[in-house]
Amino acid sequence: MKLPLKINSSNITILATIVLFICLFAVGSIFFTGFFAPQVFLNLFVDNAYLIIVATGMAFVIITGGIDLSVAAMIALVSVLSAELLKAGVPPVAVIFGVLVLGIIFGFLQGYVICKFHIHPWIVTLGGMFLARGVSFLISTESIVIDNPVYRTISNAKIPLIGSSTISVSVIIALVTVAAAIYVSRYTAFGRNVYAIGGNERSASLMGLPVMTTKVAVYTLSGFTSALGGIVFTFYMLSGYGLHLMGGEMDAIAACVIGGILLTGGFGYLLGPMLGVLSTGVIQTIIMFQGSLSSWWTKIVIGFLLFAFIVLQRVIVSRKERRPVSQKLKRNRTQKTEIPV
């Protein structure tokens, strides 16, 4: 009935992000040799698979108007726990299953406390973040190598794509996650309830939607994706370490926001977080290819590029928003004007 490609106020941010991403990639390709290569592009996925997964899960939380600060700490915890369990000889399948369950329980508890006791998610998940990091330090302060053959095989597996370029298993997991998230957000009642709650929680509840259940589910989901992200990250690093991904939750939030998800809730597409991750990823790649910035200039330039990106995005979006709506309105409201006398 409606082409999904139609540009409207709700998908404009996504389009703006894609356009800006392509521009950045083009700029990189022009200025740096070796930049314009399939592998450089694919590496954006390879290196950020875990972040894509986590940001996608977090997006659901953000769309309900909440936030989850515990995701990065959860990844660290998962990595330490996995490493320790594998060292103790627990079979990999059991480890993976175990940490996923842990993530689900952890997320559920956070969600339960948030909803049941009406405590702001920022506080609860900040507590969760301290807790997860703290527990991983209790398990081990040192970094632990993972030399389990299964993990190593998965970690080193390369799936060939075009030419000599390859991707890792994690990329597949990430893409599947994104696809599933898009489907869930659009085609399931749960997904729609998430948007409704973000739009107006009170209304959603008065409309008879299962607000509490959905909110708890959303945090549970985020717990699950951060555990999944943790597993992918563990494949990526083959090590467990309590200091992994310090401040990573900000990266995930930033990815969501750049991908057009409003922190106040209710708006955004689930493709957004991935685009956000790719955009920040390409900015970083440019910095790395540039290769002569001092530590501090690196920060300044990254921040500046981020700033330029966000401002351009806003310019594009608000341009679109300001377009006259008179024509459309006329069609909208063709009410008959007969008068009941």
Binding site: F32, G34, D47, N156, Y236, Y241, M246, G291, L293, S295
Partner: protein, 320 residues
């Protein structure tokens, strides 16, 4: 301030090269070295970065690709991938943590790019993935600090340990080396051990609190995992009305200029040097590699233990 704005000149006399001058690469193409730095979390690291960047700048045969990882291992991995994509001649890095390098270093190996580790090592299991390690041994530093402490205390007393960031490899190893050495002296006890996050403000705050705890009222020594925390602790001790350096002996690691000044002022007793001026050694190693030389697995950086007059004498030459 040790003049942070004007980084150490390239051929710093304080940083002797361990290998002899090698001939420049035969072709007149530059030697491209990609260096992945952890970040800029301390003055010490700033000095290391400056040393490497300056050395490269002053050597026309070298082109440096520098990448700052902002404290994140993921960024370092990405940087190394980028170096591989850019086909650099040598990859150098200061690994933020010991583990998690297997995949990316294997990629480097497959791409036939040699890897040099700087100032921190990686897990022993992956020894075949790098060519050489230039730097110091944190455990050894801890041991040296412990020996100095034992000496200052005359083999008897209570000490406080100010640890670095929980989980950081420097903190873990410096603690291990120190604690193991101290265990050999039954009359010396570590009565409190707390993390000061490697920074001065936290170090001071922690020391303040410890001095007010019951155990803290009777201590003779403080061991700090880096100079910054020691300098913070000195202030706390002074404010508590005690004399750092005499009432309470202080030993720390790193050897920044301010620490030497503190020794001169009699407030700090011993500093175990951990040399950040690794630039010359690094590029020498890179050139040697290119020239086909076989390198030692571990090129130790030249480091000493400074106390008393030795420190005062060394002060004018300190670069960072």
């Amino acid at each position: 301030g040790c003049g942070g704005q004007t980084p150490a000149p390239a051929a710093a006399p304080a940083a002797p090269a361990t290998t002899k001058e090698a001939p420049a690469p035969t072709d007149n193409k530059k030697l491209v070295v990609g260096f992945s730095q952890i970040g800029a979390e301390s003055g010490w690291r700033g000095a290391e970065t400056a040393s490497i960047q300056e050395t490269a700048k002053n050597d026309p045969t070298i082109e440096l690709k520098f990448s700052d990882a902002q404290q994140k291992q993921e960024n370092q991995i990405k940087a190394i991938r980028t170096f591989i994509a850019q086909k650099v001649d040598v990859i150098a890095m200061a690994p933020v943590v010991e583990t998690g390098w297997e995949a990316v270093l294997t990629e480097a190996k497959n791409a036939k790019i040699p890897v040099i580790l700087v100032d921190r090592n990686i897990d022993k299991k992956n020894e075949d993935l790098y060519t050489t390690f230039i730097g110091s041994d944190f455990v050894l530093e801890g041991q040296n600090a412990a020996k100095a402490m034992v000496e200052h205390l005359g083999g008897k007393g209570n000490i406080v340990e100010l640890e670095g960031t929980v989980g950081a490899s420097a903190a873990v190893d410096r603690k291990k080396g120190f604690d193991d050495e101290i265990k050999k002296h039954p009359d010396i006890k570590i009565v409190k051990s707390q993390s000061g996050d490697f920074n001065r403000a936290t170090g001071k705050q922690v020391m303040e609190a410890i001095l007010k705890s019951p155990e803290g009222k009777n201590i003779q020594g403080v061991y700090a995992h880096n100079d910054d925390m020691a300098l913070g602790a000195i202030q706390a001790i002074e404010e508590a009305g005690k004399k750092p350096g005499s009432d309470i002996k202080i030993v720390s690691i790193d050897g920044i200029k301010e620490a030497f000044e503190a020794i001169k002022a009699g407030k700090l007793n011993t500093v175990v040097e951990c040399n950040p001026l690794l630039g010359p050694q690094l590029f020498q190693a890179a050139k040697d590699l290119k020239a086909g030389k076989q390198l030692d697995k571990w090129i130790k950086s030249n480091e000493e233990v400074f106390s008393g007059q030795k420190a005062i004498d060394a002060l004018p030459n300190r670069k960072y």
